[in-house]
């Protein structure tokens, strides 16, 4: 049987890859996919703790997290479409309307 720390280490690695992706990419869609990756990593650690405690509540939380992630994806992609319509690019360095 695999120990719990392997699952948590995998979750930490995926979360870190997501953070680095958010920081180094400039394409808004890829940044958004990295956010999804980080959500997945957190879901994995929640599910690990749920499994190792034999408690169903963690799985329910992951279920709601999935629903919120779906809503977030819909709204975020709508915002990306809106940004693209305004300046014909999804490069976030070109979105500088509120930057001083």
């Amino acid at each position: 049987m695999i120990g719990i720390d392997w699952y948590l280490a995998l979750s930490a690695i995926l979360f870190t890859i997501g953070i680095i992706g958010v920081l180094i990419r400039r394409n808004a869609i890829v940044i958004f996919m990295c956010v999804e990756l980080m959500l997945n990593a957190v879901n994995l650690s929640l599910l690990t703790f749920s499994a190792y405690h034999g408690d169903i509540s963690g799985q329910i939380l992951v279920f709601f997290s999935l629903a919120v992630a779906a809503a977030e994806a819909v709204v975020g992609l709508a915002i990306i479409i809106s940004i693209f319509r305004n300046n014909l690019s999804v490069d976030i360095t070109k979105v500088n309307l509120l930057r001083w």
């Binding site: 394409n27 599910l47 034999g54 709601f64």
Partner: protein, 173 residues
Amino acid sequence: MDIYAFVLLAVLAIASALGMILNKNTINSALLLVVNMVSIAGIYLLLQAQFLALIQILVYAGAIMVLFLFVIMLLNVDEEQSLLDGFRVKYFLAFLLGVIIFGQILYSLGGVTDMLPEISPEMITVGTVEAVGDVLYTDFLYAFELTAILLTAAVVGALMIAQYKVKDSEGTE
């Protein structure tokens, strides 16, 4: 047997995640993220969470990633910036911050790793569709209904943000 499946799925997940953030083509990134989602669903199966593994594939790898691919192809953003030009300092700082956060998580993990319990034997019955539905429709019923309201609000909001307002020549709506 378990450990081989875990190592295979974990390597697949990490490799596809790395490929996702390093790939120049946005569509390739999205497809690699699908691979990542499916391998994470396999890890959910190893953790005896059958229902959530199914939902992961249906919702994430199915619905959300199809939405991503749809938007990518709609916007036609295949002219991608070359990843490693320009701000070297920025990339260095990004990797440094990532390593720091990873070290922090591993450090806090290492402090408790002896106290963590083993996988509990009743998990065979806990993760099934029957058990999840049983708890979801009794203890968490209000949260479940609120999720329905949230999804409705998200759809209406997305329509409001993304719809194309056609203006005629007088400039009125």
